[in-house]
Symmetry: C2
């Protein structure tokens, strides 16, 4: 069990220098010629104006900002190439950037899907269950954020219960709220209770995942949240969610250029607020199904686009959030994993540092699936081995095994086999590798059925990490006090 | 529809020069110090002796042959880096080697699995069905060989019916029989009827897939078959099937070195028989499940091993057969595709030229699955797009779409979107990308169920390619004559 993965294999680089320059040039053209609009946040506009960007008024609450080529890159020079997000259990703090990779659960689904009840709105009980399942998996590294939407809790209060669940049922790092600036502020305040005010002022303990409003808008809700996190020295993920042909060019190189431009502008804001604040370049690429008109996921074009994003992030020397285990399927079937693998392999091969949506994603992100969650964490386990690569040395070349046996001799009993067989191969904890006959006698279950049993037994066996009682009380007191200041709102 | 894929994206190279040299050195050590045993084929031994190899007698019918470092590489210099295997429909001839990639169905399963009948022994009717399904898919390029074992036909006669089915129900290239030298000869003889004797003497029209008897043995059944194919100028695939810890070192770098050594020795034999004969370096890597003691497939170590094999084949300047869509699952579920993707992505990313087992593989190769066959061919479709990569140019960067729309404007109606939306994204023909509600109303089918419908309708719609009547008669006459010379044997 490791707190995060250290990638020991090379990245899969798709494009050569010339084509990367073309994409970077296109991003610069977007930033310099078309510009990014900023809405409802004059302070952000003022920060960019002071930095030398060219601001023009679009409406009373909207400004178009253009950046001379190279200006954003210059601003980004203060952003850390890697940083640590601290967990309340120090052994689980994660490095983000460089060769480090962090797997984090899926984020943002309003629905839950499981084999027993089908699809239904997610509740706080589901939220807590999924935090527990994530905590129980040695193959995730992060507790995530809105692992599902607890729709039974008022919209303006649920962030408090969500943050509490991360703090109480997990001892890993997690994401704070970003749906409104005051919720971002609450997230950071609760971290001050958990970690201590002094610690928080000096360390990154929480991150927000902020979406741009593509194409080419950062709205005030996001930018004010970004400023909150950056002022507090906390981390931001700056994410354009691009549905190709709808909010980005329908051709992937254009979507990648736009993704780079939008995310760079968001990252730059963090540096203007507080140079050195942790910022993560981010990209979420998708395609569109002609037949259904719906977004599609796990297709080859976004997988290749992610490989390019990896190259671009390294050239910028910024950590990257990219891709994940995406699917349009409505259950944890063959389609779900074909799409999920297409997408997830590109995430790890592109060298992404923070891989959101590593587990549970179904139904085009509308649903979090208990069964797929378990299958995906098993894949995450395999990817730990994949990313380790091989040491090529006398021991791993194992010529002694061949010498001891020789032509035609099985190697079960050689010294080399005996020394290595227990660690030589990764083994799934969910797959059925048995002969057909054994599988048949044992009830012919498919992977989804095994995952169904597994999440139930995992919840039964779950043990909460200890939490200091006075801290727990202080968190609850804060939550009650904040809730008492607000009437419930449901949208 | 293309006769084969031309790979336009880079390969995924795992190891640097130093580690590649270590593996090559280990292979040379195997060949030079431990040696390869050759059984029951004095002519092959004589060919190697004449070439300067060091032969020592092991038993009356077994010889150990050692090769000085560099000797095999020298012999292999006459092997073509790429060649064409001709199909009876010239538009479907395949290039093998270089940047060409050929997807071929799974090979060798004695059982059939389908959703309706579960697992049962395969028959000639299944064999014909699967040839038809392969022929009907635009995403495979080759008809394969023993697509399943027609167990209702006597062992000594079934090769005749299998070759006939390939010739009659497909117009693509195919693999001939290798189970006995006289069956290899029959395969080539039937090709002479189909293509004409003169054409066959000048062109590669059939290939045999020959297995070594790992560790480090080539038996006479294989080597005599290899000699038959090579003498006729036909192609050979020289394949070690390595179950790690059983017949190869349990550590992957050692298995790769052994795979290289065994396959190179097989390739060298083809060149001694007929310099310039088409030969394909090959590798089939697997792992072992500790829990069940069974072979396991679709695990990360063999996936990485395949990436290394790709690098080694390019350094040898030989075409490569490697990996495929492997699984231990007993049905076309999430496990099947997670494992299959892990393995298949490495096949395409390592630059393999002939990808056997591209469709239908289940149950550790014991079973061919109708449903998985359909799901796999849909993945093959996606991989056509993946391997195409992107042109990065003004058109694909699509800045005009952003200029026409601008910040906050959807791009559905831009000239760029309208010009590209029909071709911008690959679309699955089997996945369900619809919203949950539509999927739910339409019966909540999973991918396996959709695949079940699809193989049945595909068989209904199948149309046989035309075949000259006199050729057809001549083939049948040959088969009847050959069958009449033999009593049935069943093992």
């Amino acid at each position: 069990m490791v707190p995060y993965i250290t990638r020991h294999i090379p990245t899969y680089d798709l494009l050569g220098e010339e084509n990367l320059l073309k994409i970077e040039h296109a991003a610069d053209t977007i930033l310099g010629e078309i510009g990014i609009e900023f809405h409802d946040d004059p302070e952000t506009v003022q920060l960019f104006r002071q930095a030398g960007a060219q601001v023009s008024v679009v409406t009373e609450n909207a400004w178009n900002i253009k950046f001379e080529p190279g200006m954003i890159r210059e601003i980004l020079k203060t952003a850390p190439p890697h940083f640590t997000q601290h967990a309340r259990n120090p052994a689980k703090s994660v490095k983000i950037g460089g060769n480090a990779m962090v797997f984090s659960p899926s984020y943002g689904s309003p629905f839950i899907i499981d084999m027993n009840q089908g699809r239904r709105y997610a509740t706080l009980a589901d939220f807590e269950n999924l935090i527990k399942l994530a905590q129980a998996s040695p193959w995730l590294h992060h507790s995530g954020g809105t692992i599902c939407e607890p729709t039974d809790i008022p919209v303006n209060k649920r962030h408090l219960d969500m943050i509490y669940a991360h703090m109480r049922y997990s001892d890993r790092a997690f994401l704070g709220s970003i749906t409104a600036p005051e919720r971002a502020a609450d997230s950071i305040e609760m971290c001050r209770i958990l970690f201590g005010t002094d610690f928080v002022s000096e360390h990154c303990v929480v991150m927000g995942n902020f979406n741009s409003t593509s194409p080419l808008i950062w709205d005030g809700n996001s930018t004010r949240g970004i400023r909150n996190y950056a002022e507090a020295g906390q981390g931001s993920i700056l994410l354009p969610f691009l549905l190709g042909g709808a909010v980005s060019p329908v051709t992937m190189p254009g979507a990648v250029a736009q993704s780079l431009a939008e995310s760079m502008a968001g990252c730059a804001l963090t540096q203007l607020v507080r140079p050195g604040a942790p910022a993560i370049l981010a990209s979420f690429l998708s395609s569109t199904s002609l037949r259904s008109g719906s977004p599609s996921f796990g297709t080859p074009e976004p997988a290749l686009g992610s490989l390019i994003m990896g190259q671009l992030a390294r050239r910028l020397n910024l950590p990257l959030r990219c891709a994940g285990n995406f699917s349009t399927s409505k259950l944890a079937d063959a389609q779900a994993m074909t799409q999920g693998m297409m997408s997830m392999m590109s995430a790890v091969q592109c060298g992404a540092n923070f891989i959101m949506h590593s587990a549970g994603f179904l139904d085009s992100l509308l649903s979090m699936s208990y069964e797929k969650f378990m299958l995906d964490t098993d894949l995450c386990a395999a990817l730990h081995t994949y990313l380790k690569g091989f040491e090529v040395d006398d021991d791993s070349l194992g010529l002694d095994a061949l010498r001891e046996g020789g032509p035609g001799k099985h190697m079960f009993g050689t010294a080399h086999t005996l020394a290595h067989y227990q660690t030589a191969y990764w083994e799934s904890s969910l797959n059925d590798d048995q002969p057909y006959e054994s599988w048949h006698e044992q009830g012919q279950e498919d992977a989804m059925q095994r995952a169904n049993h597994r999440w139930k037994t995992t919840l039964q066996d779950y043990q909460a990490p200890s939490l200091d009682e006075s801290t727990d009380e202080a968190l609850k007191e804060f939550i009650n006090r904040r809730k008492a200041t607000m009437d419930d709102t449901w949208y």
